[in-house]
Symmetry: C2
Subunit: 382 residues, 2 copies
C-alpha cells in the first residue's frame, strides 16, 4: 500500500488524475512528495507534460499524461490460417505490421519461428528490439493462467503445454513474453477502444473456431484455469451427430464456425476452407455465404442466450472472420427469442470496431498493464 | 490510498495480517503509526487481542483479530413460501432465528411487515436494535445494483421497483438496510464457509424457482444491471411448449423448478405445491419425487453445461429446497456429457454446506463488508 511513483503513474495512465493537484487529492500524499514522484517519472520519460490546463486558482496547472512513445510493444496474434504481427506504441497504435501465412496446424516450432522472424523484420533487426518493452502472443485456444501455456487446445494440434514464452524469448532476446487466448485479447482491445466505461463486456469470435472473451471491471476474466468463455464446444442437442475437430459430436463449433460454413459452401459447389475464405465470399456478395452465415449466427445466438443470462453484460461485441451483418442478424434472432427480455433490455449487440486488429490492440494493452504496473514501476524507479 | 485504521482493520479481517508486525510489513507504515491505528481499533472494540503468537525474535507478538461480538446483524431471506429471519454475530453465527410463513406472492407490504415484526421479536424489541449494525434482505429475483430494488422479478408479483430498504428501514429505525438476490447471497455464504480460496464459485439454487449466484475473487458478480446468474428463464428448445409463470414458454424454471416437479407429482396423485413440499417428499423417501427431481437435474445440467463453459468455475454448489443426491446425479449426467472435458476437469460439483442458512450467512457477510469497509471505518474513526 505504500504510494510510490508507480502508483502515481497508474492513476495518470488510467485517467484518474491529470495534474499534480489531482494526484495529491487522490493519494493523500503531500504536494512535495507528489512533485518528487512526478519529477522521477518525467526524467524516466514515462510522463510528458502537456498544454496548460484550466485555471483553478492563481497558477495554471500543467497537465500530465502517460508517454505512449516511451517504448514499443510487439503483438502477435496467432490464428488458424495465419499470424498477424504488429509493432505498436504504448497506446496500441500500429506502427508497422505484417501477416505470416503459417497455419497453426503446422505446429508451435514452425509457427513461432515465422512469428519471430517477422517481428525482427518489423523492428529492423535485433538492435531494434532495444525500445521493445514486451511481446504479447495470442493463440486460438485456452491458455493456463498460471503457466501461460496452451491447455488442451481443441484446434491446435501439437501445442498442448508448449512453452511459447521460452521459444519466443529465445528468438527475441531480452524481451519479456506474455501469452493470452485470442478472444480474451480481442475483448481487451475492444474494451480499451471506446468501451472503457463498460462493467461487463463479452466478445464472441466466430472464425475458423468459436470462442468468447470476457472483460469484467476492465480486466480479462479467465476463470479457474483459463477456460472461461470457451463456448465453441458446448454441445447442441439439435445437432448431436455433427462431428467436431475436437473429437466430440454436436459441438457449436462443428456446426456454426467458419470451418463449418466453409464445409457447407464446398458441399454446394463453392470451394472454401477457412473463416477467411467465407469472409472473402461474403465480401464478394455470395448469397449462399450470406444465408449460411446467418444460419450459423442463429446457432451461436442459441448458446449466447445462456451466456447473456449468466453474465448480464452491457455489450456483446461480434468479432472474427465471419463478423458481418448476416452473422449478427442470425445471432439477434435466437438470442432475443431464447432469453428473458430483462437480460437483453440494455444490451448492445454490435460488430467490433477494430476488426482484425482487436487482438493486437488488446495484447499491447496487456503488455503495458504488466510492464507499467504500479509494482513494476516502483521496483524499477524505487 | 491513505492508509487509515479502516485499511488496517480490513487487512486483519481478511486474514492478510495477524500481528502489528505483519500490518507494518503489508502497509509500509511505521511501527509507531501501526501502533496508533491498532490502539484506535482496540479502543473502538473492533479488534481483540488474542493469545501469544510464535516467537519471531525477542518479544512474542500478540495476535489481533476482528471482534465478531462487536455488533449484531439481522439477515432476512425472503423465499417464495416463507421468510427466514436471523440475528447473527459478525462472523455469521446464528444467535436466534425464526421462519415467517408469508408467501412472497402476498406482496411486499405484508411480507416486509411480517419480516420487521419477526426481526423485532428476535432483538427483544426496538431497544435491542442498538447493537445491530445492519440488516440484509434477500429476495428470489434480480435486484438492481444501483437502486437496490427488485428489477422485473418473474416470480414476485407486485415487487417490481419496490423500495424494500425504505420499508424495512421505517420498521427498524436507525439500522441501514441492504438488499440482494437470494442466490447471490447464498453464493457469498457458501464461499465464506470454507471456499474462501476459490477464484470463481457458482451456486445453483433449485427451489420453487431457479437461479445462480456467482462469486468472483471473493465478491458477488452482479453483471451490468443486476441480472447476472438469472438462468431460470433461459428457454429450452426441447420443451418449447411448457408455460412458465413469467409468461413465456419453454423456460428452464417451467420444467425443472420445485414448482414444476410439484406439479408433475400432483399429476401423479401425490399432492405438492412448492419446492419445500418436494423436499419433504424426498426426505420421506418418495421414489416418484426422487425420479422427477433427477429428471429436473438433467435439464438444469443442460443449461449448466454452457454456464460452466463460460465461467470456468472451480466449484459449483447446489443449493435450494431440491438440493439432494437425486438432483446432483441428474445435473452431473448432462453437465458432463454436454460440455468439454477441460471445462469440468478440475470442477468440484457439490451440495452446499450451509443448507437453508446459506443466504443468511451471505447477507451477514455483505452487511459486514459494507459497514466495516476501509472507507467506512476510516470515516467513523478518522
Amino acid at each position: 500500500m505504500p504510494t510510490g511513483p508507480g502508483d502515481v503513474l497508474e492513476l495518470i495512465r488510467r485517467g484518474h488524475a491529470r495534474t499534480r493537484g489531482e494526484v495529491a487529492g487522490a493519494t493523500g500524499l503531500s504536494r512535495m512528495t507528489v512533485a518528487q514522484r512526478v519529477d522521477a517519472l518525467l526524467s524516466a520519460g514515462l510522463l510528458v507534460e502537456g498544454h496548460l490546463g484550466d485555471a483553478t486558482g492563481g497558477r495554471r496547472p500543467r497537465s500530465l499524461r502517460f508517454n505512449a512513445g516511451h517504448a514499443r510493444v510487439l503483438a502477435a496474434s496467432v490464428d488458424t490460417t495465419h499470424t498477424r504481427v504488429a509493432l505498436t506504441d504504448l497506446d496500441g497504435r500500429v506502427l508497422a505490421d505484417c501477416d505470416v501465412d503459417v497455419p497453426v496446424s503446422s505446429g508451435p516450432a514452425r509457427t513461432l519461428d515465422a512469428l519471430g522472424a517477422a517481428a525482427l523484420e518489423l523492428t529492423g533487426g535485433p538492435a531494434g528490439l532495444r525500445p521493445v518493452c514486451g511481446v504479447g502472443v495470442s493463440v486460438p485456444g485456452p491458455v493456463d493462467p498460471d503457466t501461460g501455456r496452451p491447455s488442451q487446445p481443441p484446434i491446435m494440434p501439437g501445442w498442448d503445454g508448449y512453452p511459447i514464452a521460452d521459444h519466443v524469448g529465445a528468438l527475441l532476446p531480452g524481451v519479456p513474453v506474455l501469452t493470452a487466448n485470442d478472444a480474451d485479447a480481442a475483448a481487451v482491445g475492444e474494451h480499451a477502444s471506446g468501451q472503457a466505461g463498460t462493467r461487463a463486456l463479452c466478445l464472441v469470435k466466430v472464425s475458423t473456431g468459436i470462442g468468447t472473451g470476457i472483460v469484467i471491471d476492465g480486466r480479462p476474466y479467465r476463470g479457474a484455469d483459463g477456460g472461461a468463455g470457451d463456448i465453441g464446444h458446448v454441445r447442441l442437442r439439435s445437432h448431436a451427430d455433427a462431428v467436431c475437430m475436437c473429437g466430440a459430436r454436436g459441438c457449436l463449433a462443428a456446426v456454426a464456425s467458419g470451418r463449418a460454413v466453409a464445409k457447407a459452401l464446398t458441399a454446394l459447389g463453392i470451394p472454401a476452407e477457412s473463416g477467411r475464405d467465407v469472409r472473402a465470399l461474403l465480401a464478394a456478395g455470395s448469397p449462399e455465404a450470406a444465408r449460411l452465415t446467418q444460419e450459423a449466427g442463429r446457432l451461436v445466438g442459441e448458446v449466447m442466450a445462456t451466456v447473456v443470462s449468466v453474465l448480464n453484460p452491457q455489450v456483446v461485441v461480434i468479432g472474427g472472420a465471419l463478423a458481418s451483418s448476416h452473422l449478427i442478424a442470425g445471432i439477434r434472432e435466437t438470442l432475443y427469442t431464447l432469453s428473458l427480455p430483462r437480460a437483453t433490455r440494455h444490451l448492445a449487440l454490435q460488430l467490433g470496431r477494430l476488426g482484425e486488429d482487436a487482438p493486437v490492440v488488446g495484447l499491447t494493452r496487456l503488455v503495458v498493464e504488466d510492464h507499467f504496473s504500479a509494482a513494476a514501476v516502483n521496483a524499477r524507479l524505487g
